[in-house]
């Protein structure tokens, strides 16, 4: 038939029938493992960095080559400077994080569970969040001097906001139908908090924890620019004075690795704690 049917509009670009091909692999095609695919991007970037350094396109005064950075890492680890710097910075981050997390947890519980707490706390937190916390460094120096205290305080402050807002949001997003059913089953106030409200706030709290940990390291980088006599920031500002880009890059890499390690730990923790959630895993 070559005549056009007037009843059917011509849909040349859309075939009337499609074939769905199975995706189950029956051998033959070589598939790259997912882990290799994931590693390809970062490895490629480092390779590019190495090549541009080796050929002189990227001069050392701008950015040291990865080989120099690696050598510095070995050297500073051998003479103990890097481990002690990591320990000093880690101590600040951990102390600040614990203080900030304690504050955030207490405030979010008060605001989340009690109407009065919400009225008093939540609006204040909203207002305080509008202040850029990094901008508080000068004020912290005036208040706490230039020792450890302002550094820990800055980390604590950076940690408090993401944790507070995520836990508070988690508590408030508790399904009221579940609360009703649990009350019907005879749970009292404490039982409701333990079995319904806190578990339902947990996914949000874990998201907050991830943000909080990355903020903790960020806050540390800022804080350690101020008169540090130990720690990664001290190492960095020393290196800056002698134009040692290899040490600066090394410190940045260490910051990044520490941040990654924390993120990884939280992801493991989430997987453990949230086994009850059947989640979308992404397509192959």
């Amino acid at each position: 038939m070559t005549t056009h049917s007037p009843a059917l509009p011509t849909t040349l670009d859309k075939p009337a029938r499609i074939t769905i091909r199975g995706t189950t692999k029956t051998g033959g095609r070589v598939t790259v493992p997912r882990s290799v695919r994931r590693a390809a991007g970062p490895v490629g970037l480092v390779l590019l960095w190495f090549l541009t350094s080796a050929t002189g396109v990227l001069p050392e005064s701008v950015l040291a080559s990865p080989v120099d950075v690696l050598n510095q890492a070995v050297e500073l680890t051998r003479n103990g400077e890097l481990p002690s710097a990591i320990a000093a910075s880690g101590r600040r981050a951990a102390t600040g994080f614990l203080i900030g997390a304690t504050i955030a947890l207490s405030l979010s519980l008060l605001a989340g569970l009690f109407r009065l707490g919400e009225d008093v706390i939540d609006s204040s937190m909203g207002m305080l969040r509008a202040i850029p916390w990094v901008g508080l460094i000068p004020l912290f120096i005036v208040w706490f001097g230039i020792d450890e205290t302002p550094k820990i305080a800055l980390v604590a402050l950076g940690v408090t906001y993401p944790l507070y807002f995520n836990i508070y949001g988690g508590i408030r997003s508790t399904d009221s139908q579940l609360v009703e059913a649990a009350r019907m089953m005879g749970l009292g106030r404490l039982g409701l908090i333990k079995y319904v409200i806190l578990p339902s706030a947990l996914p949000g709290a874990l998201v907050g924890l991830r943000y909080a940990l990355s903020t903790a390291w960020l806050a540390l980088v800022f804080a350690e620019q101020v008169n540090a006599d130990a720690g990664l920031g001290y190492l960095m500002s020393n290196a800056q004075q002698y134009f040692r880009t290899d040490v600066i890059v090394l410190c940045l890499v260490v910051y990044a690795l520490l941040g990654l390690a924390c993120d990884f730990a939280v992801r493991i923790l989430s997987r453990r704690l949230l086994t009850w959630r059947a989640n979308f895993e992404g397509e192959a």
């Binding site: 139908q177 579940l178 009703e180 059913a181 649990a182 009350r183 019907m184 089953m185 005879g186 749970l187 039982g191 079995y195 319904v196 578990p199 339902s200 947990l202 086994t275 009850w276 959630r277 059947a278």
Partner: protein, 238 residues
């Protein structure tokens, strides 16, 4: 039989909008009562009041202290294993054996230690029934518990509820908008309209009931008529 539920001059208004008008109702011990009505007629409001979830009422309501409920959605806590959901809120340590007995009674003993997310709709509703019955209630409140189930599953769970009721002997108030469901299960069917109960029907048919029996068909026609639904029987889609 003494009364399990006594409702006297009950009224409930939301922002000046009266949902229940001066209601009087008794439910005898062990009686199965179905409450029929269109959406928004006040039937769920009445059930919530009997459940103790809504206390801003006028009038007086007397209910057994031991009562429990199952809702249209199963409302299981997703972070507790199925058996922990069943014994949630019971005093003392969580009693797994008790939970397993209750789950066996609703026919899903093998799902005791899975997460609720992995259950099908019918299974989740069975868990919800087990959770309600493990408390040995004198009054069981059912808020359209079959509404979200597919037709085949619904029939099976309805059958289960009939059996459980006969075994436990508790009074049941079933809120539904399904006329056949009400007639299959209940001793008495109440028709609710705009916060009043203008019609009431005692179902004297022997159990298990036959949907095609002429008495059943005529009772159904009466109820449909009261609900303002006029359909010819031949054209009735089931």
């Amino acid at each position: 039989m003494p009364n399990s539920v006594e409702i006297r001059a009950l009224s409930r208004a939301f922002d000046g909008n009266t949902v229940l008008h001066d209601l009087d109702l008794d439910i005898r011990e062990g009686e199965f009562v179905a409450l029929l009505g269109h959406s928004g007629c006040g039937k769920s409001t009445l059930l919530r009041i009997l459940a103790g979830l809504d206390e801003e009422i006028g009038g007086e309501v007397t209910v057994p202290a031991r009562r429990s409920a199952a809702f249209q959605s199963p409302r299981l806590l997703p972070w507790l294993k199925v058996w922990r959901n069943v014994v949630l809120g019971l005093p003392g340590r969580p009693d797994r054996a008790l939970a397993e007995r209750a789950l066996a009674e609703v026919g899903i003993a093998d799902r005791a230690s899975v997460w609720p997310k992995t259950l099908s709709g019918g299974q989740a509703q069975r868990v919800s029934l087990a959770r309600a019955l493990v408390r040995e209630p004198e009054l069981l409140l059912l808020d359209e518990p079959f509404g979200a189930l597919d037709a085949l599953t619904r029939g099976r769970v309805q059958q289960l509820v009939a059996e459980l009721w006969q075994r436990h002997g508790c009074a049941i108030l079933l809120v539904t908008h399904d006329v056949e469901e009400a007639l299959l299960l209940a001793d008495r069917v109440l028709v609710m309209d705009e916060g009043r109960i203008p019609h009431e029907l005692t179902v004297d048919l022997p159990r298990p009931r036959d949907l095609t029996a002429p008495e059943f068909v005529s009772l159904r026609a009466r109820l449909l008529n009261w609900l303002g639904v006029t359909r010819t029987l031949e054209g009735t889609p089931s």
